[in-house]
């Protein structure tokens, strides 16, 4: 099948992890926490990212240059904690605070191209800005006001992906 004759891939066919995650039965749960709860959790996350210096351009450079342990230490402790927590919730606890069954929608591998290519493109931007999406927002709050430009540009990048999506290999 050549790409010129390939039909336009619509939203159903392009595998979309975000939307899978988003359209789970979640939003209708009457016991679901209010937005303010997520705001508070976000505040905590912003504080941890900032105080842990994970949002520092210098720390990211130090990591990519293999010159310091700080960021590796963060990943090496964050990942086991996250794995243990999520696996415990899925396999043992099985219920959310509101009593819902815990559902983690699987990601679909497909050809894997989107992860390899998209990931590499993001990595290039990560090295330039020194920030992934979370840190972009934390830095904005922390007084690096030019990050609003990087955020706007990141939105344009996401928008452009949406526009070109049906032509990209996934």
């Amino acid at each position: 099948m050549t790409s010129s004759t390939e039909p336009r891939i619509d939203d159903e066919e392009v595998d979309d992890d975000d939307v899978h995650a988003l359209t789970a039965e979640q939003t209708r749960d009457p016991g679901a926490p209010g937005l303010w709860v997520y705001l508070l959790v976000g505040i905590a996350f912003g504080i941890v990212l900032t105080k842990g210096e994970a949002i520092s351009w210098f720390r990211i450079q130090e990591m990519f240059r293999f010159q310091g342990f700080h960021m590796y230490g963060i990943f090496a402790t964050a990942l086991p904690t996250a794995i243990a927590g999520v696996q415990l919730l899925k396999r043992r606890w099985r219920r959310t605070l509101g009593g819902e069954t815990i559902v983690v929608p699987p990601k679909h591998l497909g050809s894997g191209v989107r992860y390899a290519v998209g990931g590499t493109i993001f990595g290039l931007g990560w090295a330039l800005t020194g920030a992934c999406p979370g840190p972009l927002f934390a830095l904005l709050g922390g007084g690096v006001t030019t990050m609003i430009v990087a955020i706007a540009s990141a939105m344009l990048g996401t928008w452009t992906y949406g526009r070109l999506r049906h032509r990209l290999p996934h």
Binding site: D11, V37, Q61, V149, G162
Partner: protein, 190 residues
């Protein structure tokens, strides 16, 4: 007391705490921790333009996550301005030397001022770092379907093969960016 609030946290404090957010959000409301989706929600809110990828109920799907990201900004204000660490980030001396060789000398704060001040937008290299770098982050995370949080933490925590691939690719791109792209960009106009 105030000194404790100002001091940065070591990796063994920050790392485990960062790792708690994926299970915490899952437990609170079956939510998958991931920040880059917010870029999509914001696009969907502002300019969906009939693009299928952006045409959905962003309030319903992304309301919680937009509240979360608003919290990140507030957290940044608290930890980065109110209780700001007055000392420069204590990166390795070798990193300082590497950056000096690239023409980065201002090591105060969390980011180098010569790249992230408003006036730097008038320079080619400042423009490429902020506008170009931001674009790559937004395009790449959307294409990959997640960022350091969504794939790197959440996806890996759920032991997803795609997320391990994505995390490796993030790092490969970062190395390419650090050793090839950044020296080129910072060399402009020097």
């Amino acid at each position: 007391m105030r000194d404790i609030l100002l001091r940065p946290w070591p990796w063994y404090v920050a790392g485990p705490l960062i790792g708690l957010f994926a299970p915490l959000l899952l437990w609170l409301g079956n939510r998958m921790f991931g920040v880059s989706s917010n870029l999509r929600h914001l696009c969907s809110a502002i300019a969906p333009r009939g693009i299928p990828y952006l045409s959905y109920d962003w309030r319903r799907e992304g309301g919680w996550n937009l509240a979360f990201v608003a919290g990140i900004v507030v957290g940044g204000v608290l930890a980065g301005l109110v209780f700001r660490n007055p000392e420069p980030v204590a990166v390795a001396a070798s990193t300082r030397a590497s950056l000096a060789a690239l023409g980065i000398h201002q090591l105060g704060g969390l980011v180098p001022r010569e790249l992230f001040e408003w006036s730097s937008l008038a320079t080619v290299r400042g423009w490429i770092v902020l506008v170009g770098g931001g674009f790559l982050v937004g395009f790449g995370t959307a294409y990959a379907g997640g960022c350091t949080s969504g794939h790197g933490i959440s996806g890996v925590a759920n032991l997803e093969v795609p997320s391990f691939i994505a995390l490796a690719a993030f790092f490969a791109g970062g190395l390419l960016g650090t050793f090839v792209l950044l020296p080129l960009v910072l060399g402009i106009g020097r």
